[in-house]
Every structure is written in C-alpha cells, then in structure tokens.
Symmetry: C2
Subunit: 81 residues, 2 copies
C-alpha cells in the first residue's frame, strides 16, 4: 500500500522558490504561466498488513506531526491500495 | 487552469532525505512504514486562455526542461481544468 503526501506553504505565505521559478520561466519565454508554487511530495510505502482505516490514520498522523510545519504549511494526502 | 507536477528521484537513485525521514519515523515509533521517498511538487497556474492540448504541451515541456534533472529524476504531471 502506498500513500502520497503533498505539503505546500499556506496560500498566505510567500513562496520565494516558486516566485524564482516563475521568474525564470518568464525569462525563458514559456507561455501562459500565471503562478508557480513549490511544495514537497512524499511517497510512503506502508506495511500491507495494515487495513485501510489504520493506514489512513497513520499517514494523517505522520503528515500532521512530522512532515508539516503547521504554522506555515498545510498538507493533503492520498492512499493508493 | 492548474497543473500539478511531481518530480521524484529515479528508483535506482539513493534518496538520503527519504531514508532520514524513514529512520526518524521508526525511532518515533510510527507503525507500518516500510519506505519513504521524498520528491518535489509544483503547482502551476496556467493562463485560462490556453486550450487543453496547449496547456498539456507547455506543462510537459516545463517539467522536462526546467523542473527535472533527467539524469537522476523523473516526473509525472496532472492537469486540472
């Protein structure tokens, strides 16, 4: 079983990395890009003995307590069986 | 229109960040985690005047040419209208 966790800076937090990439894309003449924001992506391989509810609970706990700084970041996750 | 680009180290490339997180999770007694790999995640907001084919082509080009180091990384993307 695999979990995908996406961590992004909150909308209200400035994202200098994303802005730098956006600026570079504009200079390189890529068309139609209005905004870029960068985040982190984690692939977590879970023990297949875990049932779906336990896996969801564990992944949510890991994302909340370890992978995300709640002051400036927010996360979403998806579990793939 | 929004594009989501996920960049990961290739399977064959060692991921020390992911290993460090995996080690930390084990020490912190999280259950059932077999592997962790870390990647990058980009949210690209596109000009809504682009049609779907143009957007796909542009995002694929940006991902291939700018966001990914093809020697050690691979990407996937998803476009949301």
């Amino acid at each position: 079983m695999k979990a995908h966790v996406y961590v992004m800076l909150k909308r209200t937090v400035l994202d200098p990395q994303g802005q730098t990439i956006h600026g570079a894309l504009k200079k390189m003449r890529y068309q139609g890009v209005e905004d870029v924001r960068q985040g982190k992506y984690f692939q977590i391989t879970l023990d297949s003995a875990l049932d779906s509810a336990a896996a969801t609970a564990e992944v949510e706990r890991i994302a909340r307590e370890v992978l995300t700084n709640p002051v400036i970041e927010e996360f979403t996750y998806r579990i793939e069986s």
